[in-house]
Symmetry: C2
Subunit: 352 residues, 2 copies
DNA sequence: AGTTCTTGCACCATCGATTGTGCAAACAAG
DNA sequence: CTTGTTTGCACAATCGATGGTGCAAGAACT
């Protein structure tokens, strides 16, 4: 408790202590000293002083001067979800490995909030912005463009800058087919026994629905419109949709394509409200992977999106000199029921 | 991406455009203009100019001058977990409502990384730091103290500043008791049939273990040492521990107290490796809540920590003039199997 | 010895906003 | 008409780091 009011040391403090000028101190400590022909012994002296006085550069000052901050932003819809939080986890690791500082912020899928959040990040002079799952990527683009900020879309595409997204059509196909196959041999699934719940009118949902319908047509020979129920993403809206279906039909569809793990939570809520149903004949396909969901009492087939692949690709593309505003598709992976996959956490060592 | 060359407007630009001095522009735009007796019409003019030129203040410059940044940091162990990501979600909402900018960073439970991350955040002149689940809170404290930065511990306590944590002893007791009661009427549980897996030598684990042992003694009359298996937090280490137990005993214990949802993932991995076991007689208590885990095929009793309560309390305490370095306990909640609770996401409106 | 390099650093403007201080002009009071 | 008082704003220093430029002292060379 020695140094309560102690201010952080600056290059000026070290300048006085070392007898050199502030610019010399600065050069030594930011690595440009050789270019400035500072003597090794001078550098050594200053480095030692910096060490003993626990000097760290004030990044606001540095950022102000150089108009770069060392911050790289990730704009998420929400944190509280395995898909997006693993996005955050993976993003962090990449940014750290570049020696920069990640800053992860969520904007609740609200276009207005997305733009305002981007504005805020820009006012901190972030160096790059990764726009993940934005409801209005092009709106955010405008803001970034006006500030001359490099940016890229992930998960949901925009039209003005490159986008790295899951191949949702292919994923939708894989998942739909896996659900249907699950009933083979058994009493085969009929077209009106396979429903899709959740999602809204965004690119990802549209593509998944397209895949869903295509496969239904190919394998079941029909694809009734009423089997598509885009309830939005809120768990409770999904719950209400299940509730309504149950009310009308006295049961759930045998095959369920659930658009996201968030919507899946709506299914859980529905189930909690019907404790005596055992949902024996149910097969769920969920477009998102969650290890616990994979072990539920009914077969749950899941799609794991390749978060690592998307982030890696996004970093590649954003570094390009003049990136095209095209869409890069990353293949997702089908996960059979009762599968426990490893994730970004497994890269961490566990300290005992 | 696009650096269209357009620079952001500064107070100097607006100063020229409005014919006022930069300081006047600054005062108008940061709200101190009345104190400076700026004419309403002047203010109006400048406000309009700011609007049409999309002015936003450069926060690095402001922060440099005022040595405050408007950033409030949250240091997490990891993102990729429902407990911590809901911490991030809740934290964000609180910070936003104070008109500041949240910055959430993870440090992988590594004491060295925790300190370095804190250093980095400090170099951006963050205004406050919430240290959540840190392996070495007092180490981070040193760093903050040296920089004169307000900070507080959450989830895992330190000794130098206030800490807001779950009542892990009580939670451990509740969970243990609930597991034991689950077997009542049935063939009652024996002391060596109830094991605790996961966690390590941190305050939370110790308290939970203390509660676990106390209740076992009270209700089962004994509390053998070998029933405590602190495997650390890594899922794979937990898996290995389950594997080893299974190897020795040909089955799992009937009652399992799993220290965290991360450790629970280790149990899933074990189960994935033993597809023919049905684990009929198993009751799991997990110290963490996850909606999907709650609906697994065997009874899963969970503890939900009161994240909202902890964050709220932490904000209260950190605002205090001279906060005592004491521990504030927040009561967690027992969640019966097959329960779908709402979370921070439900506060968001869903846009269609 | 005089000239030209090279070495090693100091000086100073600059990034954009904040804030204490000063000072004219307008106005009021005597 | 003189002396205060208030109004409305401009000036300039400052936060800490960066990087272009300049310049003295020593080395090298003729």
């Amino acid at each position: 408790m020695a140094s309560s009011g102690k201010k952080k040391a600056t290059i000026y403090d070290l300048s006085v202590l070392s007898g050199s000028s502030p610019s010399t101190v600065s050069a030594v400590l930011n690595g440009t000293w050789q270019k400035r022909r500072i003597k090794e012994s001078t550098a050594e002296l200053i480095r030692n002083l910096a060490e003993t006085h626990q000097y760290t550069a004030n990044r606001q000052a540095r950022g102000l001067r150089s108009s770069r901050s060392g911050l790289i932003g990730l704009l998420l819809p929400i944190h509280d979800n395995r898909y997006f939080s693993s996005m955050a986890q993976t993003f962090e690791a990449h940014v750290r490995s570049k020696g920069q500082c990640p800053i992860v912020v969520s904007a609740s899928r609200d276009p207005e909030e997305e733009r305002k959040t981007a504005e805020t990040l820009i006012s901190y002079s972030i160096d790059e912005l990764f726009i993940c799952g934005a409801t209005d990527p092009d709106g955010v683009h405008e803001v970034c463009e006006a500030a001359g900020l490099k940016h890229i879309n992930i998960d949901l595409p925009g039209t003005r800058v490159p986008s790295v997204i899951s191949d949702n059509y292919e994923g939708g196909r894989m998942l739909t087919e896996a659900i249907i196959r699950r009933f083979e041999g058994d009493r085969p699934l009929l077209p009106d026994e396979l429903y899709l719940f959740g999602g809204r009118n965004d690119h990802a949902s549209r593509e998944r629905i397209r895949g869903f319908r295509a496969v239904k047509n190919e394998l079941l020979g029909a694809d009734p419109d009423e089997c598509i129920q885009p309830t939005g993403y809120a768990p409770n809206n999904a719950r209400l949709a299940f509730e309504a279906f149950y009310e009308r039909n006295g049961r759930l569809p045998r095959g369920l394509f659930v658009n996201s793990s968030i919507n899946f939570e709506g299914l859980l809520r529905f189930m909690a409200g019907h404790p005596h149903e055992n949902f024996a004949d149910l097969v769920v396909g969920c477009y998102d992977y969650d290890p616990f969901a994979s072990f539920l009492p009914f077969p749950v087939i899941m799609i794991r999106q390749d978060v690592e692949g998307m982030i890696t690709k996004a970093f590649e593309v954003i570094e390009e000199a003049r990136p095209q505003a095209r869409i890069h598709l990353i293949q997702p992976e089908l996960v059979q029921p009762r599968t426990a996959l490893t994730g970004p956490l497994d890269a961490l060592r566990d300290i005992e």
